[in-house]
């Protein structure tokens, strides 16, 4: 029977005098099925505390916490042997070369000596540090250090990869490479990834499910795949040409729309209306379509909703009250 990757039940964690995690229950993932989970929340929500508790750095006050079927309290060594961690902060040993560093980390994780050396080279090539792997880590740039951190997290082939702000400080090319590597880990290597990040676009790009925390509790959990496939009623349009008559013409096909200026429109199509009809209408109005997409809650809106900052999706208002252009 396959184990749940991360299982929390009534987890409470207290640091100093404050209770940071106030009773969380959650089940994420299935062992052997590679998926990525985003962990989101404002600062102070308890994300780092949760991660550190998963790794056994903090002891729970109450409740259960287990990774891949191993209880974090009683079988911590097994948990750590199957987890790879990439911390947010700078973390390296200055006077070692990348290969020596990776070898050390690999052997500490339990890889046999010769294999650790092989894997060190493999991992370094894989993250793009092939050319620099014999140089000391103190000579590395920030982007390179981030990649080295990723390499040490994957060298022992863990089942669960925990990444804390992996794209921090990376320039666009490096960020792209990092996200591509993470996606590869889950798709090609079958690893489960727990990604903690403030950059919602990164999370949107890589993750299948998202857990949102606030004030030590989980306030929302959703499956991005399902969100993406959800209803197609809201349409975002960008046209060129004279769109003055469009607003008046929309009700004729049973739709309603709001103009945002510059040829941009937000349109609500009831389920009975075909997209084709809209196309015909646009053609009849002599408008050229530059962009036409179906709006679904972007992760940002899901997040803001979970935080209680907005009551419902923008665009739903187009359905209830249409503003004059």
């Amino acid at each position: 029977m396959a184990d749940t990757v991360v299982e929390l039940e009534g987890l409470k964690v207290k640091l100093g005098r404050r209770e940071i995690l106030r009773g969380i229950s959650c089940r994420l993932g299935v062992s052997g099925v590679g998926k990525a989970f985003g962990l989101l929340g404002p600062n102070g929500a308890g994300k780092s505390t949760l991660i550190l508790t998963l790794l056994g750095f903090h002891k729970p006050l109450a409740g259960r916490i287990s990774v891949l079927g191993f209880d974090c309290r009683t079988r911590l060594n097994e948990v750590r042997a199957h987890v790879g961690y990439m911390p947010e902060t700078d973390s390296f040993i200055a006077n070692l070369s990348a290969v020596s560093f990776l070898r050390l980390m690999g052997e500490l994780s339990g890889l046999p000596g010769k294999i650790a050396l092989e894997k060190a080279h493999e991992a370094l090539f894989h993250v793009g540090l092939g050319e620099a792997r014999y140089r000391e880590l103190s000579t590395y740039s920030l982007g390179m250090k981030q990649m080295a951190k990723l390499a040490q997290a994957i060298i022992h082939g863990p089942e669960l990869l925990i990444l804390d702000e992996p794209t921090n400080g990376l320039d666009p090319s490096a960020r792209r490479r990092m996200l591509r590597l993470i996606t590869e880990m889950k798709e090609k290597q079958g690893m489960n990834v727990l990604l903690c990040s403030h950059l919602l676009r990164d999370v949107e790009q890589v993750c299948d499910e998202v857990v949102i925390m606030k004030d030590g509790m989980i306030v929302h959990k959703c499956n991005l795949e399902e969100e993406r496939r959800s209803n197609k009623c809201f349409v975002e349009l960008e046209v060129s040409g004279n769109d003055a008559g469009l607003r008046g013409a929309l009700p004729a096909i049973g739709a309603e729309g709001v103009s945002e200026g510059n040829g941009r429109w937000r349109i609500v199509l009831p389920p009975s209306v075909q997209l084709q009809t809209l196309w015909e209408l646009l053609g009849a109005q002599n408008l050229l379509v530059r962009k036409l997409t179906h709006r679904r809650d972007t992760l940002e809106e899901i997040f803001l909703k979970a935080m209680g900052h907005i009551a419902h999706t923008p665009g739903e208002s187009a359905h209830t009250s249409v503003q004059p252009v």
């Binding site: 921090n168 320039d171 060129s240 997209l275 962009k291 997409t293």
Partner: protein, 310 residues
């Protein structure tokens, strides 16, 4: 009035042999301008040149008509939030900003008022009397921002200002930028998160290897790049059929089928004709689900002009 711009004219800066920037010329109007480029491309050098923290080896710089060699005048209208921490160990958030303001010549009560206003704007009033050393990363970022704006400057320079901020604070900070830009200020920031740059910038400056690669409004820059045909992503039910219809059009240079056979990536030399073609196809019995221009964003510009190459 051109004296309301930030103007660089053939500016070069070398640190011994190490390249800072090489013959940079640019003209930045008020509004939100983003500096985009790989690490080590010269963004921080440019910001330091703008504030007069370093001086150019060649060329002239005029910040709204004032030269950085005149720091007394310039620093009154400029605020700079650096990438790294600079608060003294003993300082609380409030005292950090107040002390800075005292240096400007404000009286103590004025300085405290202004400092409090700035802290309110960045949402740090709760933690204002705690030591900066105890702040989290995001809070330190915000206190740097606060100290940059406390004296109500006309030019605000921000080096990676959104780094480490959670999505809520990010959104709030972006609002602030927008407010200042609407008041006619210069908001010049550097960032690696290209999707955000897309959303918030009025203009963008791409820099690589110490040289300016592109400058201007995103769409204008894109239109100028002729070598790359425009890209559109088309989602439809019968991709192969739609593809063959599009192939008949001579403005189409390349089409790639998506693996799921429900989408196409179309490269075309003429956007208008493409829109016409697709409109025709959509009304002729083919279900076109969505059309998305794939490369009118900074991400694409970055890839075309700077790319992965080093």
């Amino acid at each position: 009035m051109t004296s309301l711009s930030v103007v660089f004219d053939e500016v070069s800066k070398f640190y011994g042999e190490v390249l800072g920037v090489n013959r940079v010329s640019m003209n930045i109007p008020p509004g939100i301008t983003s500096l985009v480029g790989p690490n080590g491309s010269g963004k921080t050098t440019l910001m330091n040149l703008m504030t007069g923290l370093i001086h150019a080896d060649a060329g002239t710089i005029l910040m709204r008509g004032i030269s950085p060699r005149d720091p007394e005048k310039l620093m009154r209208i400029t605020g700079y939030a650096t990438q790294y921490d600079a608060a003294p160990r003993w300082a609380t958030g409030f005292s950090f900003i107040t002390t800075g303001l005292l240096l400007f010549g404000y009286s103590r009560s004025e300085a405290e008022q202004q400092a409090w206003k700035a802290l309110e704007q960045v949402g740090l009033t709760d933690a204002a009397h705690r030591k900066v050393a105890a702040y989290s990363k995001g809070m330190r970022q915000r206190v740097r921002l606060a100290q940059a704006i406390a004296h109500d400057p006309e030019i605000i320079l921000l080096d990676e200002p959104l780094n480490g901020l959670d999505p809520l604070v990010r959104a709030g900070t972006i609002e602030l930028f927008r407010t200042w830009a609407n008041r006619g200020r210069h908001v010049i920031l550097s960032s690696h998160v290209l999707q955000e740059v897309d959303l918030i910038s009025d203009q963008v400056i791409l820099i690589a290897n110490g040289m300016i690669v592109a400058e201007g409004k995103i769409r204008d820059v894109r239109e100028e790049i002729q070598e790359h045909p425009s890209q559109f992503i088309v989602r439809c039910d019968d991709a192969s059929r739609v593809a063959s219809l599009l192939f008949d059009e001579d403005h189409v240079t390349e089409i790639r089928l998506n693996e799921d056979r429900l989408g196409l990536l179309v490269m075309t030399r003429d956007r208008e004709r493409f829109s016409r073609s697709i409109g025709r196809i959509a009304t002729n019995g083919h279900v076109i689900d969505s059309i998305i221009p794939a490369d009118e964003n900074v991400d694409a510009l970055y890839e075309y002009l700077i790319g992965e190459g080093k």
